[in-house]
Symmetry: C2
Subunit: 94 residues, 2 copies
């Protein structure tokens, strides 16, 4: 899952770790687009990562699109639990 190119999976680490990951991806080769993916409480962190990267570090970035979704996670007790997801795609306008 973490093999998708130009994708940063946002979880429970400090926000700045993911900001750095985004900046590093954009700095490598000719990357024009990076997608942040998160689910559950990490959705807020993903939005923070997009906003902090764009406002403080790379003012030529823009939010190209935002997709919302739902995943069904199997539970140990059986059955599934629904969790919301977000995908934020950032593009570099150079």
């Amino acid at each position: 899952m973490s093999k998708e190119p130009n994708t940063v999976f946002v979880g429970r680490k400090p926000t700045m770790n993911y900001v750095l990951a985004v900046i590093t991806l954009f700095g490598s080769g000719d990357t024009k687009e990076v997608t942040l993916k998160a689910r559950g409480q990490a959705i807020t962190t993903a939005v923070d990562v997009a906003e902090i990267t764009r406002r403080r570090f790379m003012e030529n970035l823009k939010v190209e699109r935002v997709n919302l979704g739902t995943e069904d996670i199997p539970m140990q007790e059986g059955g599934t639990r629904s969790v919301s997801t977000i995908e934020i795609t950032l593009t570099k306008s150079s």
Copy 2:
């Protein structure tokens, strides 16, 4: 601020309160569009509200657009703190 028509401000109440607010707005008159607004940790709740309303209650809804932003909140100690915001606009395709 809560006077904006067809806008639901998502905060710390239970998710289903906001789902009900969205359904009620769409049920009244000829509302074609409802916007969810949230900031900070409530961003995740806003995404949950959009997904639950769309998947469980009104399958003719679609996410028309999602805007991300940042607000500077004045702190008691002076200075400001930045907080991320989201606006999710839902439309009824009837």
